[in-house]
């Protein structure tokens, strides 16, 4: 569904991702490369269409935002330089930048970690899952 708001949000995602979703030729190489594919309700190659169609509400609710690993397999392998991983991350940013949009709270942390957890895990998760 395209509204004035979703038009603005789609433009924002295209802008901060720095990619051009219109170049996508739907080859599916991104989704084939994605190690989190089976957990994703919207698949990497479909993300591109949601931005093109300005259906940002569905993107913002997608579980896929929280399963993308930023492993850059899709970014490396995209033959059209669309780089879906950057679009997923931009969509994730537009969610966590909203009030109440955080996916991880500090209070959850003690139950999620063990003694061996490297600091790198926590700082990375905080960067990806909240503002």
């Amino acid at each position: 569904m395209s509204t004035a708001n979703s038009k603005t949000a789609a433009a924002k995602i295209a802008e901060i991702s720095g990619t051009n979703p219109l170049k996508c030729m739907k080859c599916g190489k991104c989704s084939a490369s994605c190690p989190a594919f089976e957990k994703m309700d919207i698949k990497p190659h479909q993300f591109v269409s949601y931005v093109v169609n300005e259906d940002i509400e569905a993107l913002a609710k997608s579980e896929s935002l929280w399963y993308c690993l930023s492993c850059f397999a899709c970014v490396e392998r995209c033959p059209r330089d669309v780089k879906p991983g950057k679009i997923v991350d931009a969509a994730r940013q537009t969610v966590v930048r909203q009030k109440g949009g955080n996916y991880l709270s500090a209070n959850e942390i003690p139950a999620l970690i063990d003694d061996d957890v490297p600091q790198q895990l926590l700082v990375s998760a905080f960067r990806k899952f909240r503002r």
Partner: protein
């Protein structure tokens, strides 16, 4: 030869081995890692959105410290390498980020990406040379079959990191050969371990780590080596497999005969 050195948060805490063995080895190999002052955490992940500035400043500070000293900046952690190198690329090539970061930093002289960011392995390959490294080995790891686990952060995106061929890398295999061991090439060596996902979706990381470990052991690896503390954690804690995973610096120190010192 003296390099600026950026250890990063985890090498001061959970991944002390990665740091300690690198320093000991560097001494034998004739170069020095001079820790930059007041470094701050790189954030662990590179902020992908083009309007992210504040989250890149800790990297810019570190890069500028090295520039002021006129040194190349060496890292050991895959994540630090990834983040510093990509921020450096922004400072070289993305005018908007360069201008905004410099406006904020107010340095004596603007930072424009002058520092060269190197991974410790690149120093071994490109400055010391694997042939020279081989000559310094006193305890060759003969008979050991070692799988290189590259993961994501050292390799991708290849056009910015330029560390090695992102789909068919050879640097860690060459390193393993220089130490007298046999590298095991297996299909999952550049697949993701799950990274930060293991905080909230352990099952997903577990499956990915099992695939990696099964792939490596299926091709005959006795052990894996990595440069990333998070890969080390995920592979060790999230996989059912029991293949041991070491930091590459630990086997380096062992082959150079300095692993047991001061312990």
């Amino acid at each position: 030869m003296k390099y600026s050195y950026y250890p990063g948060c985890t090498l001061r805490t959970k991944a002390k081995d990665l740091d300690t063995y690198a320093r000991k080895s560097a001494e034998v190999l004739g170069f020095e890692l001079e820790e930059i002052e007041n470094w701050q955490c790189c954030g662990g992940v590179y902020p992908l959105s083009s309007d992210e500035i504040a989250t890149k400043l800790s990297s810019v500070r570190a890069l500028n410290e090295a520039k002021v000293k006129g040194q190349q900046l060496v890292t050991l952690c895959s994540a630090c390498y990834h983040v510093l190198k990509r921020v450096n690329d922004d400072m070289q090539n993305v005018e908007d980020i360069r201008v905004k970061a410099n406006n904020y930093m107010k340095l004596d002289e603007p930072y424009e990406g002058e520092t060269q960011v190197l991974h410790f392995l690149e120093v071994l390959r490109d400055t010391i040379g694997f042939d020279e490294l081989k000559k310094k080995v006193v305890k060759p790891l003969t008979g050991k079959k070692i799988g290189a686990y590259y993961g994501c952060l050292l390799l991708r995106p290849g056009e910015i990191l330029g560390f090695d061929n992102p789909e068919n890398p050879t640097i860690i295999e060459d390193f393993i050969r220089a130490l007298g061991a046999e590298p095991v090439i297996y299909p999952y060596r550049n697949e993701c371990c799950g990274g930060y996902i293991s905080l909230k979706a352990k099952d997903l990381s577990a499956k990915m780590c099992d695939n990696i470990m099964d792939s490596a052991s299926g091709f005959g690896a006795d052990m894996l080596i990595t440069a990333c503390p998070l890969c080390q954690y995920n592979l060790t804690k999230n996989s059912k497999a029991t293949v041991p995973v070491y930091y590459f610096t630990e086997i380096l120190a062992e082959a150079l005969g300095v692993k047991g010192e001061e312990e």
